[in-house]
Symmetry: C2
Subunit: 146 residues, 2 copies
Amino acid sequence: MQDLPDVLTERVAFLLQLALARAQAMGERALTALGISGREYGVLAVLNAGSPSAQHHVGRALGVDRTSTVKLLAGLEARGLITRSPDPANRRAYLVTLTGTGELVRARAAAALADCDDRFLAPLAPGDRRQLRAGLQRLIDGPEPM
Amino acid sequence: MQDLPDVLTERVAFLLQLALARAQAMGERALTALGISGREYGVLAVLNAGSPSAQHHVGRALGVDRTSTVKLLAGLEARGLITRSPDPANRRAYLVTLTGTGELVRARAAAALADCDDRFLAPLAPGDRRQLRAGLQRLIDGPEPM
DNA sequence: TATTGTTATACTCTATAACTATA
DNA sequence: TATAGTTATAGAGTATAACAATA
């Protein structure tokens, strides 16, 4: 551990914060080379995972509220990575779709991020990596209702 | 795992982000009852760990830059949790000290946060908790220079 | 010339409210 | 009445630059 006081490093939240900062710095650097942000990659990844989604589904999947989703998608549309078309089944809604360019950028970003994960997790043996992921997921899901 | 797409949850950074959000929400709720923020607790904890520190030492220990440190300490001083006095050894610097009230709030906050950690880590067995901490610390320190 | 603290400014993120059009 | 998208606005957090006093 660096030169941080023990009173802070004994807090799990503080350890998570430091580890996240390191992982995010690596990821953002890789994505900047592709011209997108981490959140924008999230949009591309969500869109690739399924069929065209309504705008609010994209935002909800990423935990981004409506107003921020508007700006996020507007930026991606202006750069030709996604398109928005009216949903014939719901005239209030827009369907968001990956373009060919968007899919290309998404694939490159996914590869770059997978490489970042590998380098970030390098200090851990493969079994320890799996256990870390499993532990984090259990913490995210929280205590099981008895 | 909740209803999140696999393309996101397979990213370690995303898992860290979700786990941190949960831990921070628990911590901030506990600290709000004591009238301080997480960062303000950080100041109190750093001050308690050692002798009176110059302002820039406090900021550096928390990763907060000079200008933000000014506002952070001003708020704590206005509420009587810390005092600032000129450093006789360096007339540019201020020495920051915990007041009696500040120490009381710090102790209560430390107890409340320890309780938060216990509840946050409840899904993991004691051995798994130790391993999670150890894993996070290895990731924070990064790859050892060969 | 560098350090310590301060102020002012700007920029990003996020949160809220209000509005429209549809359901 | 609720939902989908949009806009405008204000707030917190952070970053930068400039300054005065001191080293």
